[in-house]
Symmetry: C2
């Protein structure tokens, strides 16, 4: 089916899964209704990228078109929802996908009710639990997709590896941000790229492709060919995200302008700017990056430095170069022509996007 059809079916499978959980939860208590509403709001949005790559990994090596497979692939979206909810707590982000983040949503519920005690901890605690729920549901949705046990068994080692990798990548990301420029090997382009590899390239593209392909019984050569496409594309995807985090239009990204600068994210784009900065520019970056009160002028000043140092041009060049490598690898991959065409389209969507 077409990629837009895959996206629709993935969404439908997600909603159906939550609808199966709904009565089970409400039977425990009506007080759980706000958790379900927050989940509904969270799962309505999303590019469904990981299920799409998983689907084309499966179809690319001859996996048949089956709704059960779409449900198994859609489970990756619950994993991603968990990561987003927990990320937002860790980064103290106010918004996600144009709506209040989950912890802010429950903080507001606490404030509006006028309960005693700390509304902020209630919000954070609820978001931790809701993220945990999404995390265990991702595994449950995979297991209960209706696929035969043998197909599910073939996918599990990849699923397991992917989850460990993304959590390790996220810790390395926290560590990079914590160390800032305080440690010699930290804050470099190389250190930022290592985070990108595990937190994004593998998790968003390579492993979902591998998961689908492994479930269809792909051999080693095919998995390697999918890596040769997926890893550079994943890096290009994240570098595009870095650029959007600094220069993106809030109306399209759903995040306030310059949010990544305010959060002090040690992205490849920032590392490129640090590497090229004059002492005066470096001083401004040190002082302003990660300032939670950073206003429009501060954002503008940091943007200028990123442009003036040539970091933006260098980052765009890296995106082009990695996207080209992905394209070349895709041409040679031993997969079906339908999957090749769909993956070529997804590569464009992942790197030329505005949100």
């Amino acid at each position: 089916m077409s990629s837009s059809r895959v996206r629709k079916e993935v969404s439908a499978a997600l909603y159906a899964f939550v609808d199966r959980q709904r009565p089970r939860m409400l039977a425990i208590s009506d007080d759980l209704a706000p958790i379900l509403s927050a989940l509904d709001a969270l799962l309505t949005e999303g590019k469904r990228l990981r299920p799409a790559f998983c689907y084309w990994g499966w179809r690319g090596v001859g996996g048949p078109e089956r709704p059960e497979f779409v449900a198994a692939a859609a489970s990756l979206e619950l994993l991603q929802a968990s990561a987003l909810v927990h990320d937002d707590v860790m980064d103290a982000s106010d918004t996600r996908r144009g709506q209040p983040s989950v912890h802010r949503r429950f903080q507001a519920m606490h404030e509006n009710a006028g309960w005693p005690g700390a509304a902020e901890s209630f919000g954070a605690g609820t978001a931790i639990l809701l993220g945990d729920l999404c995390l265990v549901w991702s595994g449950e949705m995979y297991d209960t997709s209706g696929l035969d046990q043998e197909t599910l068994r073939r996918g599990r080692p990849t699923y397991d590896l992917m989850r460990t990798e993304v959590m390790c990548g996220q810790y390395l990301d926290l560590l990079e941000q914590a160390r800032g420029a305080a440690v010699p090997d930290s804050g470099t382009v190389e250190a930022a790229l290592r985070v990108v590899e595990f937190k994004s390239a593998k998790y968003t593209i390579e492993r979902p492709l591998h998961l689908g392909a492994a479930m269809a019984g792909a051999d080693k050569r095919t998995l390697e060919a999918l890596s040769a496409y997926g890893l550079p594309l994943g890096i290009a995807f994240q570098l595009r995200d870095d650029v959007l985090g600094v220069f993106g239009d809030p109306a399209e990204t759903g995040k306030p302008a310059g949010d990544d600068l305010r959060e002090g994210k040690r992205t490849v784009l920032v590392a490129l700017a640090v590497e090229r900065a004059t002492p005066a520019q470096a001083e401004v970056m040190r002082a302003r990056l990660g300032d939670p009160a950073l206003g429009p002028e501060g954002v503008a000043e940091l943007r200028s430095i990123i442009v003036d140092t040539g970091a933006l041009t260098a980052c765009e060049a890296m995106i082009d170069q990695h996207a080209a490598a992905a394209h070349t690898a895709l041409s040679a991959a031993p997969i079906t022509e339908e999957a090749r065409a769909a993956l070529a389209d997804l590569a464009v969507a992942a790197t030329a996007r505005h949100s």
Copy 2:
């Protein structure tokens, strides 16, 4: 095998699982070594109660003695580790099992390194990720225990239900603590018992028993008999926890004296005291419960109220009554004599303990 032997084998299976993950993580980066050390420290301690109930559920309906089953049961300990690490972040607890809690451990690492930025958020963020890792590893450990696919498949619906229930129970617990006495139905003995049912009785005892029994192919009548033992025992277990949280010896519990009072936990014990308090006593409880700065005199004052209102006596009577109901149900359960004897011992250990 004996219950103490089960405990040893569960620990060995856990260490073996983490040892399989270790090289995989260190291959990603040496920087992950502190995560592994924190995990090692966390998994050294623990009563291994949930794996024990799971084991006796399995053996009780004729499941054979197999190391693969012990590994599957031990996976519950990783689920519990995840819950503890996340709970400690939510409650801002400083200690766990006599050691610094995971978030405090990583906060200290940040402080000792003298990194820029907020040490506390680094600690909390790392603890969220480490809890997530334990959560996905629990599923992975179950799946890779080496048991046949059919046995694993029989257990999954119970495993899934248990995880959803415990997360719902934890949210209801947060909600009770947030609402305090602000909402008419909140803060009552009944509301506190609902939290106990889902957060403790089902999660600690009934579902682990069901999991083992379901994996061995138990029929409905047996599962019901196990509930008739497990649910009251689980309530008694949690009420003992409530008493220890207020009156326990820090040297035995590994938690500071009166920690539950300082955290403002809305336990059954506290609800019993609130129900029985004079207006003057109620006033003191309102003012002091949940005061993070509560000192030894404040703890002593609240303890006196809990004793003087008769709440402690009432709570001990509830423990006895539920333990007796569990004992009666156990006598009639259609399980092997070996399992019956082991479960009788576990019932005593769960309700007459000091830590």
